[in-house]
Amino acid sequence: MILRIEDLSVRLGGSHILQGVSFDVAATGVTALLGRNGVGKTTTLRAVLGEVPATGSVEYDGTPVLGRATHKLVRDGLAYVPEDRCVFAGLTVAENLRLAERVPDPDYDLVHELFPELKQRAAQRAGTLSGGQQQMVSIARVLLNPNRLLLVDEPTKGLAPAVVTNVAVVLERVAECVPVLLVEQNLAVVRRLATDAVVLEAGRTVWQGRAADLLGDAGATRSLLGVGSTAGRH
């Protein structure tokens, strides 16, 4: 296990958002964190990353990390691709990438191989990029550095179908080297990438197991995710 979460609880603004989330993330492959809107998927990632106060236990590679500063966790290889990209709009593409460099020899070869467009748009302000191009910047920022686990939050949200496929291809390639905890609503992407799955409901873990078992069970998919098991099947 690269990540073990036990009884994670988060209260924000008077709301009890996470009420005892527990699951493990395997040291290889993609673990999909699923559930309907508002069940606490993004909050779980932010709590692991130390962005919101939380109680319970989070072990990263065997070490308790709850309460550690975000920047220290990231320096330890826990990389984060946030929902809505969060690129720095006033900075150029090159500056967004330069800011993310954590090692003396950042892997620009990999970034430019996966996203050749970013090389051409290096001098363009990130705020003027399309949603898909901004997602490239957001993923490229973490790929510059060696990582031990990627937390990726809804990478295909709001993207055109062709771009969704490109993002999935990139994540598939990345997951060959680094385990990924993926929050994703697009079941076609989950079906393509995920080896394991965790389902949250009302701030609690209600299912964990093999992704294929969940997506192959029409009743479970409908009751847990609110969609038919064939959703996203091409």
Binding site: E51, A69, V74, Y80, C86, F88, A89, R98, L99, A100
Partner: protein, 288 residues
Amino acid sequence: MSTVVLLTLTGLGLAALYFLIASGLSLVFGLAGVLNFAHGLFLSIGAYVTWSVVGSWGLLPAILLGVAAAAATGALVELVLIRPLYTRHTEQVLVTVGLSLAGVALLQSVWGADARVFPRPAWASEVIGIAGAQVPADRFLLIGAAVVVLLGLLAFLRYTRYGLIIRAGVENRAMVSALGIDVRNAFTLVFAIGGALAGLAGILGGMYFSAISPGQGASLLIFAFIVVVIGGLGSVAGAAGAAVAVGLLQQFVNYYGTAGAGDVSVVVLLAAVLLLRPTGLAGKVATA
């Protein structure tokens, strides 16, 4: 014509002072989200430390010491008083207001409540004839210093890694942390830079007004806050543009209108900008 030239250069001199105070204030608020009412204290520290040693050290070393003392005060305030309160904004404002008041009392207890005559280079007391106007040379000193600071700050923001971190942090400091960067170091740095620039403003203000007093920082701070809001939080270039607008407006309205009308006109300008463009002239983007 000569009156217009004199008013313009005097307004630009005043704008230079406002810019020196407002640029640091703007970066501090833009990056760290701190509304620092104690910023005027940094200004006074710079002025009084310079005044204290100028007789024995000479003017230039005294200025450098004054700027360094103000920068150190800024960094110390951030480390000791502000850092524990980054998630508690109300307490943060109370601390800076309290420090501002305590700072004035401290200055009075050390140097007295009376204004002190501030030294200036002999050439700054001369007047220079331009287009028929007799312009005091100290205006050019202020304008020159502000231009150098503006160019230096823009170069710092554009070409250094810390400048990059500050520009990014003004947009989204949580995301800067999520890239593995300890943004608190940048907070301390902008407080130190802001302190240094305020200290320099205090020294140049002493030369401009020919005197310093414990309350001078607080009175200049009001206009600096207006400049920050008009210019856009976190924008150095916006602060420069807003400072010029405020300084010129104040001078011209004070001269052609009634006494005090210049200050009122600045408040009207502030209200107009807030109504028409609430994010200020440059918005919340650290401009490089």
